[in-house]
Amino acid sequence: MEKQKQPLLSIAKREALPWYKNWLIRGGAILLALVFCGIITMLLTGLNPVEVFRTLFYGAFGTNRKIWVTAQNLAILLGISLAVTPAFKMRFWNIGAEGQVLIGSLACAACMITLGDKIPNGLLILISLLASLLAGALWGFLPAFFKAHWETNETLFTLMMNYIAMQLAAYFIIVWEVPKGSGKIGVINQSTNAGWLPVIGGQRYLLTILVIAILTGVMYIYLQYSKHGYEISVVGESHRTASYAGIKVTRVIIRTMVLSGAICGMVGMLLVSATDHTLTTTLVDGRGFTAVMVSWLAKFNPIGMIFTSLLLVVLERGATEISSVFSLNHSFADILTGIILFFIIGSDFFVNYTVHFRKNRKEGK
């Protein structure tokens, strides 16, 4: 009898896993990732991996100030992630959060610069807020309108809108530059603090954190229990099912993207008016894209997104610390981040599938 070739592996879809097994697999993946990171660290740098991890942790939580900065970074990233989530649940691939946040920041900065000291502070903040919301909403509305009516590709559209926002910001930074020729705006209304959001509890970052905390809860309820949330889920699953159920698909797409953009705009305002008090083209710093990952990793669950954004922020903050303490290139920290994410995303496969190795058949036939 000739030798028979057989496929070695077979992959089968799993039935639903009990929650503890699910977490065991995911926890195991993170542990494995850390071990793997340790090995890579030793091989590439010869440093003690435990020391590296300790430094990473120190970078994120080492001092009071570091904790506050981490929390603020977390809030901003989480805020943007919450903003893109309704669109993603609708399977509308909005990768334009970067631009939507920046345009919100620009609108806020414009109000602060042009109206500063001319109207009461409270009114100025209100106008800034409205302007930011509207600017973000417009950036969300445009791709949605074209998608809903003419099926344009939203991924490209939102991506391109990023560049428009970026160039607009660059242009106005030159218009408003202080001092002339510096190419920077500097701190807006430094002497009067006009248009600055109030500092509460003596902590500069507390307001941002509170706003985002509330937003997280609201977004969770919105997606889970509201009629809009239900409409979004159905539209995301199938436009035909939505029409069948009497849901106006066009309206839901536009409304959801306007909401998505508006929340981004608000985060943009928080960045300018609560913490940075200035505008640069790199203000958002790629977080509009990182938010995509945060949202996906948490499977669009706002509560889960607290943890995924925390993970990414800690890794990022820790990475900066590692590169300065061990005088390593920042790229090294990126390698570690990459490894950890790879394992976390990879663990999904093992949650959903089992792999069988084929047993050798040795019955004498």
Binding site: Q6, P7, S10, E237, T241, Y244, G246, I247, R361, K365
Partner: protein, 524 residues
């Protein structure tokens, strides 16, 4: 008697998907030169078993023998090398290619591609078995049955002497089915061995020599066709005695509920899909819609449901609570029926018209696959919640009721319906639509892909609705069922009504002729 030679022998074949055992220790033999019917309910593992012969799946355990030699079939190419060809339910053809081009596609022959020679060979095969296709005809110019023929020729061209046909008659008219069976017998005479999968028992009895039966992944046994009848086969398939009669009580006081007048509709490309369609659906009656697949059934139902734009004509709805015979002082009718043209599903619901629709595409239109039963119940009631929030209690209760009453097999009301079996998905959908207490209930291919048991459950539910005075519209493909279930039948052909006939007196052949009437006129 000379000993039978086996074209295929499957020994102790087992295939698992996760914890589901699709095939459990199956022993199946196909004799040389016979037509074997493989019979079984949905989910009994027929297609899985055949897919292991055609190289799509690989068995977990067991051995396959072809002409009594042990073989390994790990890919479709291995299957072809062993002379096994499968004709799938869904055609795998390139529309803009000719028959010949499709047939030679993917063949790795030595030397230059000689389409002329290939065309000559295709012609020879066609003449030998009596196929009616032109080698140079493009696929998009072909009817469904011609496309199927191309698939069969493709397999023969590759030298297959064992053919597996997976539900080949599902898309054919009775006349086309007869033609296919004649061709199958020609092939048999030529020494080919054939396996045919079908749900239709009369076809099994008609064409095959032997019937093998699977139930829930187990091999139940085989019988010579001459010793079997519809009842005995059903009993073997289901595992207990099942009544095969559909109860058809006479309609009680039928009154017009839905009247279509000269309805014409075009698709996005401007092709006429409905052409001057007129008929009346009565309350208390099941109105069947017959026609070859794609004759406008889908467009018709969607037009009524407000999902398809109607260009011309009227769709009138008569409310069951209104007496249209009432007249005012001047003798004019007091009430006018409501026109549905131009309304979308929400408008229809807001107008207080209870219309239920079980669409053909269950998971792509009627249900949300990733949601559980409760979420899917909400598709009909999501607007009813208080303020901005959805109400989940009502839908949850309804889901539980349907779960129990229709014996839906699911671990919970949260379990994604996408992962349920076809029959259970349909129970969820039909259950929800009936629970709306509709004045009009439309169903498209309500029993497609369902096993005999579930099919009868659905027929009974529809008849129950009819007796409650609802207007039931039943779009079907199995003429036997249409003739047994429906009171009247509208036959569609190419978007036109080619006849409205009495379901109790018409014969299958007559309906079959009406189904193809216009097509014949066009071709000749």
């Amino acid at each position: 008697m000379e000993p039978v030679k086996n074209a295929i022998r499957m020994e102790n074949i087992t295939k698992r998907f996760g914890s589901v055992v699709a095939n459990n220790g199956i022993n199946l033999a196909l004799h040389e030169g016979e037509i074997l019917s493989l019979l079984g309910e949905n989910g009994s593992g027929k297609t899985t078993l055949m897919n292991m012969l055609s190289g799509i799946y690989y068995p977990d355990e067991g051995q396959i023998y072809v002409h009594d030699k042990p073989v390994t079939i790990a890919s479709p190419k291995d299957a072809f090398d062993n002379g096994i060809g499968m004709i799938h339910q869904h055609f795998k053809l390139v529309d803009v290619f000719t028959a010949t081009e499709n047939i030679v596609l993917g063949l790795e022959e030595e030397g230059r591609l000689d389409l002329k020679k290939a065309g000559q060979r295709v012609k020879e095969i066609c003449e030998k078995y009596g196929f009616d296709i032109q080698p140079n005809q493009k696929i998009y110019d072909m009817s469904v049955s011609q496309k199927q023929t191309v698939e069969i020729v493709k397999v023969l061209y590759r030298g297959a002497d064992i053919l597996i046909l997976d539900e080949p008659t599902a898309v054919l008219t009775p006349q086309e089915t007869d033609k296919l069976f004649a061709i199958m017998r020609n092939m048999q005479r030529d020494g080919k061995s054939l396996i045919i999968i079908t749900h239709k028992l009369h076809e099994v009895l008609d064409v095959s020599d032997r019937v093998a039966i699977l139930r829930k992944g187990e091999y139940i046994g085989d019988v010579a066709t001459k010793d079997a009848n519809q009842q005995s086969l059903t009993d073997m398939m289901v595992g207990r005695s099942v009544s095969l009669n559909i109860d058809r009580p006479l309609p009680v006081n039928p009154t017009p509920r839905l009247v279509l007048e000269h309805v014409t509709a075009y698709d996005e490309l401007g092709v006429k899909r409905l052409d001057d369609v007129s008929f009346t659906a009565n309350a208390g009656e099941i109105l069947g819609i017959a026609g070859v697949a794609g004759s406008g059934q889908k467009e018709l139902l969607e037009s009524i449901a407000g999902l398809y734009p109607v260009k011309e004509g009227k769709i009138l709805y008569y409310d069951p609570d209104v007496d249209y015979a009432e007249t005012d002082e001047s003798g004019q009718p007091k009430h006018q029926p409501q026109s549905l043209v131009g309304m979308d599903p929400m408008d229809i619901r807001k107008a207080g018209i209870a219309m239920s629709f079980v669409p053909e595409d269950r998971l792509g239109m009627g249900l949300v696959g990733t949601m559980g039963m409760t979420g899917n119940m909400m598709l009909r009631s999501w607007r009813k919640g208080k303020g901005v929030f959805v109400d989940t209690k009502g839908p949850e209760a309804l889901a539980n009721r349907i779960w129990k009453e229709l014996e839906v097999v699911t671990p919970s009301t949260k379990f994604p319906v996408r992962r349920m079996s076809g029959g259970n998905v349909q129970k969820v959908l039909v259950g929800r639509e009936i629970a709306q207490e509709p004045a009009v209930l439309m169903t498209a291919y309500a029993v497609r892909g369902l096993d005999i048991n579930t099919s009868y459950t659905i027929y009974n539910l529809l008849t129950e609705q009819k007796m409650k005075g609802r207007a039931v519209v039943y779009v079907g493909e199995d003429l036997d069922v249409l003739l047994e279930l429906c009171d009247r039948i509208v036959v569609l052909c190419g978007g036109q009504v080619s006849g409205v006939v009495d379901g109790r007196t018409i014969t299958k052949e007559e309906v079959g002729l009406l189904m193809t009437q216009h097509r014949k006129e066009g071709a000749e």
